[in-house]
């Protein structure tokens, strides 16, 4: 178990170094950073001085080593546009994005699992057909369109919910939360639904398919032959067996929820990291782009690692094959 975790952790570090190479090479391919920072009237000597102070005249490998070393300590340099450390900018905006992503994922998991279980157990009911139709919409409509439609309906036409921003936030240490104020909660509803809708339909379809599959297995038939209650069979046996793959997908999807938040944050002008990234792209603010790339990768890699470990906890068969492999 420990060896397994350790091996996976080493693999994860390898992936992060590969991502670091890509992030680092962005600086070299996207033009001369000094030219981005200084005005037209800066003299050549001044440019050289800046170049030297930033260490840009060192050999590439030295620069890369320094970049990775700094990145490992979460130092990503100074933003060209804001003239502030990138790390501070990201941390400042992280609570908004994480809150949005977590609420969206909880929404997607809860409603996706409920709808999936319902449409598997009551396959021919009209509600199950409605769920199927809704899931088709959720899977095929692009996120920004859903966001805009929601804004049109609930903000413009009905005037119930704010169309942009995060509402009032409360500061707890370095973390800011919108979950404690009414306007913050109201502002969260539409972005969370928009962001979570795709995951919800995905989870719903997965749960439905898996559950139908599990219900056909011999051990469910045997559970019925043992006279267990329908409730125990559906929720004790079938659902638990269904949840194994669902955990993986939902876990892996959490990474893409954060990554996809870029679009949702843009539509709703949500002050999170995604919006920061979009602005950085528009202004060729490479330190922010590189840091964002590294950070999203780190989240993905971490989630993968956690899911692998969780998997062995949920499924006892993996536990023993894992320990037997050593």
């Amino acid at each position: 178990m420990l060896a397994f975790t350790l091996r996976r952790a080493i693999q994860a570090i390898g992936v992060m170094i590969a991502v670091g190479i890509i992030a680092f090479s962005m600086f070299r391919f996207a033009g001369d950073p000094v030219n981005q920072m200084v005005g037209m009237d800066t003299s050549g000597a001044e440019r050289a001085a800046i170049r030297k102070s930033l260490g840009l005249d060192d050999p590439v490998l030295v620069q890369f080593g320094r970049y990775i070393g700094n990145a490992a300590q979460f130092k990503f340099g100074v933003s060209y546009q804001f003239r502030l450390p990138v790390t501070n900018l990201l941390i400042e905006r992280m609570p908004a994005t994480l809150e949005l992503a977590i609420v969206a994922t909880i929404f997607a998991m809860v409603s996706g699992i409920l709808m999936g279980v319902y449409s598997a157990l009551r396959r021919d009911s009209w509600l199950a057909h409605v769920f199927q139709a809704v899931s088709l919409i959720g899977i095929s409509l692009p996120t920004f369109l859903i966001g805009i439609l929601l804004i049109y309906l609930f903000s413009v036409t009905l005037g119930w919910l704010p169309s942009f921003g995060r509402g009032d936030v409360v500061r707890i240490g370095w973390w800011t939360t919108g979950l404690l104020t009414l306007s913050g909660l109201k502002a969260l509803i539409m972005p969370a639904i928009t962001l979570g809708l795709f995951q919800m339909t995905l989870i719903m379809r997965l749960v439905r398919a898996e559950m139908l599959e599990v219900m056909r297995t011999d051990y469910i038939r045997f559970a019925r032959a043992r006279g267990l209650t329908t409730r125990a069979i559906h929720f004790g046996h079938a659902l638990r067996n269904t949840l194994v793959p669902v955990i993986t997908v939902a876990g892996l999807q959490f990474g893409s929820v954060i990554a996809f938040a870029i679009i949702t944050e843009t539509v709703f002008q949500w002050p999170g990291m995604g919006l920061l990234f979009v602005q950085a792209v528009q202004n060729v603010d490479i330190p922010i782009m590189a840091a964002y790339l590294m950070m999203v990768s780190l989240i993905f890699v971490t989630i993968n690692l956690v899911v692998d470990i969780l998997y062995t906890i949920v499924d006892p068969r993996l536990r023993s094959t894992v320990s037997r492999a050593h």
Binding site: T217, A225, R226, G227, L228, H237, N241
Partner: protein, 328 residues
């Protein structure tokens, strides 16, 4: 005969399909007495498993019981509401399926599955149920049961898993056990152990056993009586030694002729020509007539009904004293 635990009368099971209704079971009748082992034998698709499943009420749609009656110790059970039938399953009728590798939920410890079943049917505390589960595991021959009870199914071998499945089937002292090909998925050496275990449990607890198999050897070894099924009907039923030594129905004769002997004579085994008809193309008259060497005109027109011949009952016109002319 002593009181019968299970009585099946004229059972009919139909499956709705796109090309009309298929009749998988067509007028099957038999009884199983207390403590008796009835072997049900026949080719694949003869309706053996479907018969077992309809007794325990687990025929899945589009299948349904279309006619006939099933009585368990006098109580009619084929038309019970789902919830009442659920209470009978596992408590009064236990079932053992073919494949022990897939019969247990892989995510739960075997002990939890046994305790869950015990507590569904008997009002026992968690600790009492656990003690009972350990006793059961010991009874079905699992070594060190107090340790193995916390094992997961994948930690057991095929034969050991089938023992766990048997423990699950008997955990509420059922009056009837339906064993649907309990040894087919196992090694030959393990088969014999499982068969003798089922036989011993049936004897010790006075449990009636319906043993579905296509293995005549297993039947000859364990059963008191045997029912030979063909195309959804009982061709012949009777005490096992009579049916094996002196089969009456031409199909039963063919089956017994196909049992290899240990005597080592190098005679070719008898083969029944042709194969069983599909459900959508059951021939008119006796369903066996196209493959039967003794078929005559009446067999192609009229369906034979069971006739009593000594201890045996046989559905064949050869044993009907009524002349062929008057029947048409």
């Amino acid at each position: 005969m002593t009181e019968s635990i299970l009585s099946v009368r004229n059972l009919q099971v139909e499956f709705a399909s796109r090309r009309g209704t298929l009749r998988a079971i067509d007028g099957v009748s038999f009884d199983i007495a207390k403590g008796e082992v009835l072997g049900v034998v026949g080719e694949s698709g003869a309706g053996k498993s479907v018969t077992g499943l309809s007794v325990i009420g687990l025929i899945d749609p589009p299948g349904r019981i279309a006619g006939g009656e099933i009585h368990l110790a006098g109580l009619r059970i084929d038309n019970l509401p789902a919830e009442e039938m659920r209470r009978i399953r596992g408590k009064r009728i236990g079932m053992i399926f073919q494949d022990p590798l897939t019969s247990l939920n892989p995510l739960y410890r075997v002990g939890d599955q046994i305790i869950e079943t015990i507590r569904t049917h008997l009002s026992l505390s968690e600790t009492a149920a656990r003690r009972r589960a350990i006793d059961l595991l010991a009874e079905v021959g699992i070594p060190a049961p107090e340790k193995r009870i916390d094992g997961y199914p994948h930690e057991f071998s095929g034969g050991m898993r089938q023992r766990v499945v048997i423990a699950l089937a008997i955990c509420a002292e059922p009056e009837l056990i339906i064993a649907d090909e309990p040894t087919t998925a196992l090694d030959v050496s393990v088969q014999a152990q499982i068969i003798s275990l089922i036989k011993r449990l049936g004897r010790d607890h006075g449990t009636a056993v319906m043993l579905v198999t296509h293995d005549m050897g297993v039947i000859a070894e364990t059963s008191d009586r045997v029912a030979v099924m063909y195309a959804g009907r009982v061709a012949e039923i009777g005490p096992v030694q009579d049916v094996v030594r002196n089969p009456l129905h031409p199909y039963a004769k063919g089956l017994m002729g196909a049992i290899p002997t240990l005597a080592g004579d190098d005679k070719r085994l008898v083969q029944i020509p042709g194969s069983m008809p599909r459900l959508s193309a059951i021939p008119r008259g006796c369903s066996f007539n196209p493959r039967c060497a003794f078929a005559f005109d009446r067999c192609r027109v009229e369906r034979p009904e069971p006739l009593s011949r000594g201890t045996q009952s046989v559905a064949c016109h050869l044993y009907d004293t009524v002349p062929a002319e008057s029947a048409a």
